[in-house]
């Protein structure tokens, strides 16, 4: 299990999984915009908290935790960089306010990762492809996208097989300096690429044999329709956006430390 499992779609049935990808996309965009809008920690924390019930509704707590854990390293790095740069360049601020601003930037990063993670955990690539298609993206591109996603696990398995095979012939991958290590991967990459090319030729042959390109108006087995829940999510997103814009212009947000003291 890796960090990527925190973003990989799991086929579960939940109200969040059933939402239209387009509605979820609007929600993620709004969340991004709002997160960028604020520098203060309070609104960013609120954004973080709003999403937690969604995680539970989607029943993806475990995977979500994994994405959070995976991003912890980056979060700490962002925190440290912010803290240091603010400390050295913004001399007139107090240490607590520097600390709070660095924390805010970190929470912002976490919110972004979180919304990404929720989107990809709950949206099947098939539906995503369909959403692209219904938004006017050419079918060939959407097909390439879903096919690429479908072959990720296959290629990963194949890479592992090649690594094992080359290791058993005495290839040492984790030895030598940086350049040496990159060179070590060549005997793995070449068979992998050759296989991928052979595979794509076979795929093309299969597609031809299944009447690819037979007619202009191809049908699609599934159609996306905006349902009540999708409308509610879009409405909620727009509301969130309006409120955030209003607050960021007209309302003074006190720093967290001043509230605590």
């Amino acid at each position: 299990m890796s960090v990527f499992d925190g973003f990989k779609f799991r086929s579960i049935s939940s109200p969040i999984h059933q939402l239209d990808p387009r509605a979820k996309f609007v929600y993620v965009c709004v969340l991004f915009a709002v997160a960028i809008m604020f520098n203060n920690i309070i609104p960013l924390l609120i954004l973080f908290l709003i999403q937690i019930p969604i995680v539970f509704m989607a029943k993806v707590q475990k995977e979500w935790m994994r994405s959070m854990k995976g991003s912890a390293v980056f979060a700490i790095m962002i925190f440290a960089v912010n803290l240091l740069s603010l400390y050295f360049y913004a001399g007139h601020e107090t240490f607590t306010s520097i600390l709070e601003r660095s924390l805010a930037m970190t929470v912002r990063f976490i919110v972004l990762v979180q919304s990404f993670s929720i989107f990809f955990l709950t949206t099947s690539p098939d539906m995503l492809g369909l959403a692209l298609e219904q938004s006017g993206v050419p079918y060939e591109l959407c097909f390439a996208f879903t096919t690429a996603v479908r072959f990720v696990p296959v290629l990963a398995e194949e890479a592992q097989t090649i690594i094992d095979a080359q290791k058993s012939r005495g290839l040492e991958i984790e030895s030598g300096n940086f350049l040496r290590r990159i060179r070590n991967y060549i005997p793995i990459l070449i068979p992998l690429i050759v296989n991928a090319i052979r595979r794509s030729l076979e795929l093309a042959e299969t597609m031809e044999s299944r009447a690819w390109g037979a007619c202009e108006n191809r049908t699609n087995l599934y159609v996306l329709k905006i349902k009540t829940n999708d409308l509610l999510l879009i409405l909620f997103s727009l509301l969130l956006l309006t409120v955030s814009i209003y607050v960021s212009i007209h309302v003074y947000i006190p720093p967290l430390t001043s509230l605590l003291m």
Binding site: S124, R150, T206, M207, S209, R210, A214, N217, L221
Partner: protein
């Protein structure tokens, strides 16, 4: 009229110096079950590619002679048109499924043809049931075993309701149990729906019982073409090195030792039967 008809067919790949096969004359009738066999590299796959127009349209190269499939001249009709008459199942099951669920894969051909959604649904269920993959409908292909994948691939072809199904070594990546299931499905399509079947296969033990005819290719030519029993007991077949069923071998060994059975058996149950007949004589 024959459903597939080739006359003096010769083909050379764009990169090849000598033809992959030459002077092929072939007639396949509607409803026939034909096995094509022969040592690897003798041109079986290449010949199959001509049946649905991948040759010459996808591969290019030089195709001489005449080939008609369901009355269509292959050279003049694009692959997608011929694909509606000839379904093609390939060797590697993994590379024939490109969607994220079996259902979507089976739908692919019909979507391309612009068939209405309701009709697609009906045909998916039908094809999945015949191939025994209905319970896999919503599974992603990479979670399936090779045999399940290959049956899903057959379903994807079947859903397009072709007149002929061409299968190029569909079991070479499978275990014997998986292979046997595939053969059962193909056999049923042939018997119950009188679908014309062209099967390229090495292991004739499991499948020759279904065949009406066996074609042996050798070095780019059709060497033998006839009744399975006649072909399999012939000396030429042995010399070319095709996978003669063990039951048929037994017949030949017994004959060599002066014991003649009523007819050459193709599989073990039949062998038991003819031996019993011989003993009770």
């Amino acid at each position: 009229m024959a459903i597939i008809e080739a006359e003096e067919l010769t083909y050379t790949y764009p990169v090849g110096e000598k033809p992959a096969f030459r002077d092929v004359n072939l007639k396949i009738e509607e409803g026939e079950f034909v096995i094509i066999t022969g040592p690897s590299g003798c041109g079986k796959t290449t010949l199959c590619r001509c049946f649905n127009g991948l040759i010459p349209h996808f591969y290019g190269g030089k195709l001489e002679g005449e080939i008609r499939v369901c009355g269509l001249n292959v050279k003049e009709h694009p692959t997608y048109e011929i694909a509606q008459h000839v379904g093609m199942v390939f060797q590697n099951p993994e590379n024939q499924l490109f969607a994220l669920s079996v259902e979507k894969d089976v739908a692919f051909g019909l979507e391309n043809l612009g068939v209405p959604r309701k009709e697609i649904r009906k045909r998916i269920d039908w094809a999945l049931k015949i191939t025994g993959t209905y319970n896999l409908k919503n599974r992603p292909p990479y979670e399936l075993s090779g045999g399940q994948q290959q049956r899903a691939a057959i379903a994807s072809v079947l859903a397009m309701n072709p007149d002929v199904m061409v299968l190029d070594e569909p079991t070479s990546f499978l275990d014997p149990v998986g292979a046997e299931k595939i053969f059962e499905v193909i056999g049923r399509l042939n018997r119950e729906m009188s679908m014309t079947i062209i099967l390229v296969e090495h292991m004739l033990d499991l499948v020759s019982r279904y065949a009406d005819r066996i074609i042996v290719m050798h070095d780019g030519r059709i060497m033998m073409n006839g009744d399975p029993r006649e072909v399999l007991v012939s000396e030429e077949a042995r010399l070319v090195g095709i996978g003669i069923p063990k039951a048929t071998m037994l017949y030949k060994i017994l004959k060599h030792r002066g014991i003649s059975l009523n007819r050459p058996p193709l599989y073990s149950e039949e062998a038991c039967q003819v031996i019993r007949e011989a003993l009770s004589r």
